[in-house]
Amino acid sequence: MNNILTYTFTWIRANRFASMLFDKRADEFGEKAVVIVLVVLGGLAAFAAFGSAVSGKITEAAGAI
């Protein structure tokens, strides 16, 4: 039962990704574009604030490996 559920949910996720990959739609609502720019700029602001620390940790971890 557990395997069936795992398989089903995995298939749905894979199917969602495939539908995104083969989707041809290219129009966008104004409010969604505003949300996207806020999220991306927020992410980049976080990168500017903590990016060097995270890069340092990644380099440190890679060096340890």
Binding site: A26, V37, T59
Partner: protein
Amino acid sequence: MSWTELVFELAILIPILVTGWQDYRTREASNLITIPYFLIGVGVGIYRYHNEPSMWYVFLVQGLITLMAWFNGMGGADWKMQCGLFGLHPLMGLASVIAEGVWGAALLVIRGPRANFPKLSVMAVSSILTFVFDISIMPNIVQFLPGRIVPIA
């Protein structure tokens, strides 16, 4: 700007112009252009990170855009071209996201909610403007910005 950089940027720009025109006419873009563009963009993003670990913010932005497409229902062609553009040319990607946000905000104010627009066309216009700045005065400005955001061909 060297000839190789110019050719590299034109190779990035031409598929965006074609899909921008398709989006303007039909509100759809061909998978023959968008899927290879997405795959090449993600591949180039990985190559950039391999060359310089501080470029991991390209993955950050591609991941954020993918999450937005997954949960917020962004058009598939928009998602593919946006992720590809960020991998191939982060500065053009950033300029296009900002241009789309400004365009979306103006549309929201003028026409109200649920008004839609051809996003790839806006991306094409902003990419052309970035290219024009890039071959004129942009290199003189970006040298003062932190990090390397202008790609090397």
